[in-house]
């Protein structure tokens, strides 16, 4: 028995199939993902102009709501909103102050009352953006900037853009994701996007303690041995390892992790010669990745950052467009029913 409509789409898509929130990649079609990438491509050009602005969100208010600290994601969202000519309000709200749902709801209702049009939300709890979109402020477009271990859809999409720029497409690609998959919202979103866009294989490479239960059900194969796992790769994505992983008895030491799962020139040489190296950042040099690899010719880490702005511009403008067309439709229906 199903309790409800569980598909995330009833929440994040309009009846016409447009984005109105951007919460997760689950349930989004290849066409829509490709549309996001194409839209982002068109915004990359904006970043090269001397006046880096388009008026798509002029007069709109975007609130960056970061319940978890972030530098890069928040600043790229801010830049993206400003390049779309939106008014931007940045709020860093410590999680401890709003760990109770009631005050979270109250905070958001207050912001909604200030006529905000869009919330960019980062939260330590999985599902927080869903909760906000569904129960708190349904009239505000919600963009997920990372929730718990669940999803980080803009990061995954900027990674897809980077792969497409370097590989021309997704067909036939073998992609590995290496490291702490268990705690990674980025990995979950990447695996989903890579599968939907049609790569040949997604491989996760990690020790058993850093893999979630039934990880294969996400659409990937599992390899414990990194040297075996590097074979035939077109793309290798390294994940960040948090320092506190040693304390929970998940790993013995950073040194052993680097020896087994760190990306070195020797290990990279086992992949295809044109294999690109990616990392969502911030990098722990000497833990996940050797400096010479991070800064080497196969690394595309910095273009990931550039692409992040374009992807966020794309998603923000698309979600706002969805909200607008929904409002217009509701208005038309309203007038129709009165007539």
């Amino acid at each position: 028995m199903t309790a409800n409509d569980h598909s995330p789409n009833h929440l994040q898509l309009t009846r016409g199939g447009q984005l109105r929130h951007f919460l997760t990649l689950d349930g989004l079609s290849r066409e829509l993902l490709t549309d996001i990438l194409d839209t982002a491509d068109s915004f990359i050009e904006v970043g090269t102009r001397s006046i880096k602005k388009v008026p798509l969100l002029r007069g709109r208010t975007v609130v960056n709501l970061f319940f978890e600290p972030s530098t890069r994601t928040r600043s790229t969202f801010e830049l993206a909103a400003k390049r779309l000519s939106a008014d931007v309000l940045n709020l860093d709200i410590s999680t401890s102050a709003t760990s109770k749902g009631e005050s979270l709801s109250d905070t958001l209702l207050n912001l909604e009352a200030m006529a905000s049009d869009m919330f960019v939300v980062r939260h330590s709890q999985s599902g927080a953006p869903h909760f906000i979109a569904e129960s708190v402020t349904p009239g505000v477009a919600i963009i997920n900037a990372g929730d718990g271990r669940h999803s980080h859809p803009t990061q995954a999409m900027l990674d897809m853009l980077t792969i497409r720029q370097n590989k021309g497409g997704f067909e036939g690609l073998k992609v590995a994701i290496v490291g702490d998959v268990l705690h990674s919202r980025v990995a979950r979103s990447q695996i989903r996007a890579l599968n939907e866009l049609g790569v040949e294989e997604v491989r996760v490479i990690a020790p058993g303690t850093l893999l979630p239960r039934d990880v294969e059900s996400l659409g990937c194969t599992v390899e414990y041995d990194m040297e075996r796992g590097m074979k035939d790769l077109d793309v290798v994505i390294m994940l960040r390892l948090q320092n506190e992983r040693m304390e929970g008895a998940l790993l013995p030491s950073e040194r052993e992790f680097f020896r087994l799962y760190g990306l070195t020139e020797d290990k990279l040489a086992l992949a295809k010669p044109d294999c690109i190296v990616m990392h969502p950042g911030p990098i722990n040099r000497g833990v996940e990745i050797e400096s010479s690899v991070a800064d080497g010719p196969q690394s595309v880490i910095l273009s990931q950052v550039t692409n992040g702005i374009a992807i966020r511009m794309a998603v923000m403008s698309m979600a706002m467009g969805g909200q607008m067309s929904e409002r217009q439709q509701a208005q038309a229906e309203n007038e129709g029913s009165r007539a």
Binding site: T2, A3, H6, S7, S126, F131, P212, R213
Partner: protein, 434 residues
């Protein structure tokens, strides 16, 4: 509601319908209730004079349902529920006896608190309330509660609410001390170290949604430990709210070896799976968590085979704020007691459970664990549930009597409605007066 006192002391005749006496179903031969008891069962009831006649055509007349695991939230949690509201909800659900969890404030860990609850239930309760005593002081899992005092005050079962007992040594002593008084101990088995901060079944849905999982082994490791300790101490052990297929297997093995163990399962575990969380629906944040379809099937088979004797509501009413947060920050539990029977009848309609086993698991099964017969025979207390298995109704904020409105099914019709609930021959719920 109809005038509740109208039936007091009067006699009532019930005609028509199907009678489930606790063992099997047959056409109702005629029932006469007088002085709160079943005075006559048989055709002569039809000729005897009665103050009132209830036509039960199309309905099933069953013993009043018995719930081994229910939270009334009184004393101490008035914003979530109270004895008056939650026992009325129980009556709406067809229950005539509810075992009240010791997880109140103060915790029911002494005879004095038990008396307090029983007095409140006597004055404000709609159905019979049996307080479950805490097995450890303050439910902290560290020190023994006053078990003899709790027993003297009327507790038939002792448990530790939803909390775990600190370690195996304390658990062993709890069991040995309870066995001294012939008390039954009930535990929801969970190894705290393995469950850690989890709040959902460790499986495909938690992996996809990035939720913190509680692995199956958190339950099975505790079941194994408890079965071994029960075997050693000889205490009557009741395993409550099982959620895993493996637990049912272990239960079966222990039973064959003669370990004195019984078990229950919450109705929502028989109906829903981990997939209910797929939209981050915080209502289905329950503890123990909803697990896989294979687990659900094994639990159903366990009930059908009689390995699991009782189905419980595990009713946990909450104020709305408790569920108004991102799922990981919400409080666990469903407001379930009003829909238990209807959900069970849907399982019957789908061919997943026989009606006889469903009804036994809601009546005589739990009664036996309380060392009562629960059978409907002449002279028995007239605690009855009369339900129409075909009548539809819709749980909603308006139709639910509980303070908690987070029912497992909301705003869609359920088939199977409780028409009348009688406690000691007195009508405490009537659907027609809704």
């Amino acid at each position: 509601m109809s005038d509740m006192n109208s039936m007091a002391g009067g006699s009532l005749r019930i005609t028509g319908g199907t009678l489930f006496d606790g063992q099997s179903e047959r056409d109702n031969p005629g029932l006469l209730i007088a002085d709160g008891r079943l005075a006559i069962m048989g055709a002569s009831a039809l000729e005897a004079s009665a103050d009132r006649t209830l036509d039960a055509s199309g309905c099933v007349i069953a013993p009043g349902l018995v719930d081994l695991c229910c939270n009334l939230r009184e004393p101490g949690n008035g914003q979530k529920g109270n004895i008056a509201s939650e026992t009325l909800a129980a009556a709406h659900g067809g229950f005539t006896t509810v075992c009240a969890s010791p997880e109140t404030s103060p915790v029911n860990d002494s005879g004095a608190v038990t008396h307090l609850i029983r007095e409140a239930a006597a004055s404000r309760g709609v159905v019979r309330v049996l307080p479950v005593g805490a097995v450890t002081r303050g439910l902290k899992g560290e020190l023994l509660s006053d078990m003899a005092g709790l027993q003297k005050a009327g507790c038939k079962l002792l448990g530790n609410g939803s909390r775990t007992v600190g370690n195996a040594r304390i658990l062993r002593r709890c069991m040995a001390y309870a066995e001294t008084f012939g008390l039954t101990v009930m535990f929801s088995p969970e190894n705290q170290a393995l469950a850690a901060d989890g709040y959902a079944h460790d499986g495909q849905v938690t992996t996809r949604l990035g939720l913190l999982g509680i692995p199956e082994v958190a339950e099975t490791a505790a079941v194994a430990e408890m079965l071994l300790l029960a075997e050693e101490t000889g205490v009557k052990l009741h395993l409550s709210q099982l959620s895993c297929a493996r637990s049912v297997e272990m239960l079966e093995r222990a039973r064959k070896q003669g370990v004195p163990v019984t078990a229950d399962v919450a109705m929502h575990q028989l109906v829903f799976t981990e997939e209910a969380l797929a939209g981050f629906d915080s209502r289905f944040h329950v503890h123990p968590p909803l697990r896989s379809e294979a687990d659900r099937q094994a639990l159903l088979a366990g009930v059908e085979q009689g390995l699991i004797e009782a189905i419980v509501s595990q009713h946990q009413p909450h104020d709305s704020a408790a569920k108004q947060a991102p799922l990981p920050a919400t409080e666990p539990g469903l407001s379930s007691i009003e829909s238990v029977l209807s959900l069970g009848l849907e399982l019957v309609a789908r061919g997943e459970l026989s009606r006889v086993r469903l009804l036994q698991a809601l009546t005589t099964g739990p009664s036996a664990i309380l060392q009562e017969s629960g059978l409907l025979n002449e002279g028995a207390v007239a605690d009855l549930c009369v339900f129409d298995p075909e009548q539809a109704w819709q749980p909603s904020a308006k139709t639910l009597m509980s303070v908690g409105k987070h029912a497992p099914v909301l705003d869609r019709p359920l088939r199977g409605r409780v028409e009348h609930t009688l406690v000691q021959g007195r009508e405490v719920w009537s659907a027609s007066s809704l």
